[in-house]
Symmetry: D2
Subunit: 350 residues, 4 copies
């Protein structure tokens, strides 16, 4: 029933690109499950690996199957697995934790000091099959769209960020309208934000921002801070959700934050930043800042299910393209050029 | 009873220095009190004004009496004053708030958008008399040492910083052992911190740090991060209290902070900082940061009274010198050279 | 322009009922404003005063104008008033605080130990004019419906209760669908609650509950706990908002609360309750409970403006009747029989 | 090396009492460890089992070895155990969690819905050997006194209670000076509480309370509330830690709590309580209440190690008696009469 080999997108060598290969189907341990992938979505991390940038060179050991956002059907379970069964439709939490470091022992699994990441530190999901610990499998409503089910993983990062503070009645600024920023706009809207400012340099992203619920999409190249100050009576926004990692956006975001405001930072600057006005951005403002790493395990998955299952957030518009897995090169190119927001790949075809 | 004129240290002209002058005793409004100063202590802000640095030039309008840390006896009250009476021994909260901005209307007085500061925006306390709103007068135990009573104002900044998170059983790093850093060490010790690391470049400050309760005084020029990592089993400290504003100390502090840790930032960098590793210092770490502005009004005053009144913190060693007000130049010089930690001045002599 | 006398509903004697009288227009102090009432709404407290129950007998000193929920136009201001001006359309925060007790000094104005309440401790708003401190006047959008503007005061209690915890993605139970419970349903819906259970014994109230956004209106006489357990997979609700003060509802509410859940209690039992299962309701459950007194001053007013001004909550259906002030007896009777949800009275007629 | 049988205190039949028997040494699973018990301490729960009260009858299935507070040496580990090794000196977390319920999946292990308790649901530690999952074994400093190491388990309940809020500079009332109440006094003192009130009916317990750091030991039969109000200027205490479960103490505790105060409830009333003044105790007061179940896993263990290892809390005085395991009947009798605070038993003799 389960074949011995499968098609998979493999980072074959320490250079740019990837190739479709036939590789062995993964084996599973006592507490693992084997999932037949229905859909997988492409993350920015996958683009780093594909392009083979400095970070990828330092972290990835080819040859390896990559990819980590997926949904699929459980086709085999290890002997000790009791919480998931063959036939369940699951998505995967990508972070495999050690369970015995200080963060793990105190329930802060998202900052496990010995985490292994699917598709980075062990074989990923751009393939017909993927294995993972049963405790990392999240059981979905069987009726959930497989592409949306796959995208729950990055959606969870947006949930972790946006729901790290109470947004009801708040004014919110989201800097950066990539997929996670766009998800966060939808979440902020569902959580009762009063007004949602969103910045990006791409007009098509700003159009998606409006579609997701941003009341004020703003071109990052304009005077974002002045516009927000004018709109908030000179106060600034209650909450900043920083999704870009870009120094200019970070500076704009903090400049537009009100005294006593709250900022959650998910975007990763590629290098240390210069000219950061710590005195005015944080100290004088009496601001509170929270760094967002991964997803709260598994609180954000419960929240994600609630938001997507209820229809309070509809991420359909963000999944801009759906292609067969074999068309992975086309998919990567579309994402690299910015033509696509989020691309879903289907091993069994579209 | 109340004379018409008094001796006062005046910033007479827009240049370095200050002079002792005879000026009119301040008048008081309906809701003000007049205080005969017993003791006044010198703050870093006063050094900026004395030296007439860029900040002082942009903010201070000479001629003006400066100084803002004081204690003394109420000698007159305005007609509508009901909560303070002649004869009360009081200290002064320096921040005079507007009461109608958004922070004030929501109890966040410490970030009032229209704050006026005694000794900066209005006449200060390096004088025989000072006036202030009755609501800014904090009634002391008559037995409290006047110099310590005066120093409650900067002590309150340390309280705001150190007690912005729960320190019981925590490992704590305090970067910068100026008076506020030293106060914070005493507070952390009183609040049950498990282990207190403190950094400075001055050996005499590190000696005071140990005296205040630091278990591990560390020379900033050494490998502070390695020492802390070794002492904490590779985890880093639970809490960073940043008191220096120095970029190197900030970098060391964040580098030594554990994943999921908490940092309160009070130190003010003189200019925007470069090479700030936001990704590793905040985002990946899942850190929480809080900017400390002023004192929680009046929560920190209650806490300050509890800490100093109970003897749980003894700040006597930090008040290194006691001089008559007329010796103000000597006092400023001692502080500028770093020979003194905190100097108290007494208008009526020592 | 301002007359010397006015019509007002007066609790004339220490007995049930009230009467319309001509009384002097209130005078104002230095920091007060005089408001010409446009609309006033009737609170449960007013029913206690009208019926002259035990609580009213112990608290109210007739003769006195009562009523405390209102909106109107500022027609005069005291000499020192700077934040409100003649012509402003305002609502009134009913709690007049002392400013110098411990809660006031620490920003917890809602639990001021010396609070005076308009319409209870000093003359109220069932009249053509009412006076209050300028700081208690909340400036409204001139376009806001006067009846809704008046009802912001009790709406604020619902805001304080419902937004005392983060409701996004949560399952919520609201016990008691009087006006404040109904307001809370609307707020929970706007704040992104996943599912909203609401209980009452009145079918008409449950119909209003559904209209306000309750997904599961439940008859309190049925097996509420079983229904909620079935609907939540045996877990119970994340959040209880207790609005009834009724011992049975309180018991149902805690029984339906999940382990680790949160309960905000606003309803006031008329007397100490019996058979309260503290061990199972609170201790074993690891529950967190918050007692709701008044409104967070003035945070809930900002939140109220945001919710009502944006249209995220529409309380129009809850203001079931609109009558001239002179028809106050009819209004009280309708509320006492339960025929009305919330009645608005208009001194100038409907 | 490991014998086949051992001595153990067994609840042999469904009646009062217990007997020393020779029983098989427990076997261990893949992820378990076997511990040779050095010391075990007696908990109130053990008294319930010994006396065979209603709760015990409903929960315990004789014959069974009971007892759950212990320390000892690891003598064998299951094949998959990597975090504990033979020779480690460990204590045991008594709650064995399921890992897959909602609380477990969100890091709230202390309220696991499927918890199994050592000595209640599975064989306990009043024996020469006990088995438990490796993840429940807490590695101690080899120099820690075995009796104190055993008592870390109930000490953790006191830590969970006392450190559920920040105690620095706070006034605290602890109602009930059994062992956990006494532990809490020591913790409150170490965490910087300003003043510690403690109530009990036993003078010897109040003497111990003073020894542990209570500034104001108070006889519960006196007017506790009046005494506390007088001592706090009419305000009441900031924090209540309820350790008795007794309705009178609960009532006194809430009556003495200040407006806006915080109460953590650990004591378990034997039955639902009557005449609970919810309106005045919780609602009007704007109080926050937290129900304490078990220990935060494993945060309280880290905190416990920090407090006991540093010597900030010395629980030596509370371990009033040390006896060989064979003298268990004498030990139970001493605790039932109240002659002993905490008794430690040693399988290998004292």
């Amino acid at each position: 029933m389960i074949p011995e080999t499968m098609r998979a997108v493999v980072k074959a060598e320490a250079t740019a690109g990837a190739e479709l290969q036939t590789v062995p189907v993964p084996t599973i341990g006592l507490r693992d499950v084997l999932v037949k992938v229905r859909a997988t979505t492409i993350c920015g991390t996958d683009l780093h690996i594909y392009r083979w940038d400095r970070w990828a060179q330092s972290r990835i050991n080819p040859p390896m199957v990559f990819g980590h956002e997926f949904s699929g059907d459980v086709v085999a379970v290890g002997e000790e697995v009791t919480t998931v069964k063959v036939g369940d439709f699951v998505s995967g939490e990508t972070h495999i934790i050690c369970g015995h470091c200080y963060p793990c022992r105190t329930g802060q699994f998202h900052i496990c000091r010995n985490v292994k990441i699917i598709g980075v530190d062990r074989p990923g999901c751009f393939a017909e099959y993927v294995s993972l610990p049963a405790s990392n499998a999240w059981c979905n409503d069987p009726k959930l769209d497989p592409a949306i089910a796959a995208a729950q993983e990055p959606f969870g990062n947006a949930v972790h960020t946006a729901l790290s503070t109470d947004l009801a009645t708040k004014t919110v600024l989201i800097t950066g309208c990539g997929p996670i920023g766009l998800f966060a706009i939808g979440i902020a809207q569902a959580a009762g934000a009063q007004r949602i400012f969103a910045t990006d340099i791409s007009q098509s992203r700003l159009d998606l921002a409006r579609q997701m619920g941003a009341t004020d999409p703003l071109d990052s190249n304009g005077d974002v801070v002045a516009a927000i100050m004018a709109a908030t009576g000179g106060a600034g926004v209650d909450v900043l959700l920083e999704m870009s990692g870009h120094p200019i956006a970070i500076d704009q975001g903090f400049s537009a934050l009100r005294y006593g405001g709250y900022a959650a930072l998910l975007g990763l600057p590629g290098r240390p930043i210069n000219n950061f006005d710590l005195a005015n951005h944080i100290v004088f403002k009496g601001a509170t800042i929270y760094g967002v790493s991964g997803r709260k395990m598994y609180e954000t998955w419960y929240q994600t299910s609630a938001l997507l299952g209820s229809g309070k957030v509809n991420i359909e518009p963000i999944i801009s393209h759906r292609l067969p897995l074999d068309a992975f090169e086309q998919a990567f190119e579309m994402m690299l050029t910015g033509d696509a927001a989020k691309v879903a790949l289907f091993p069994a075809g579209v």
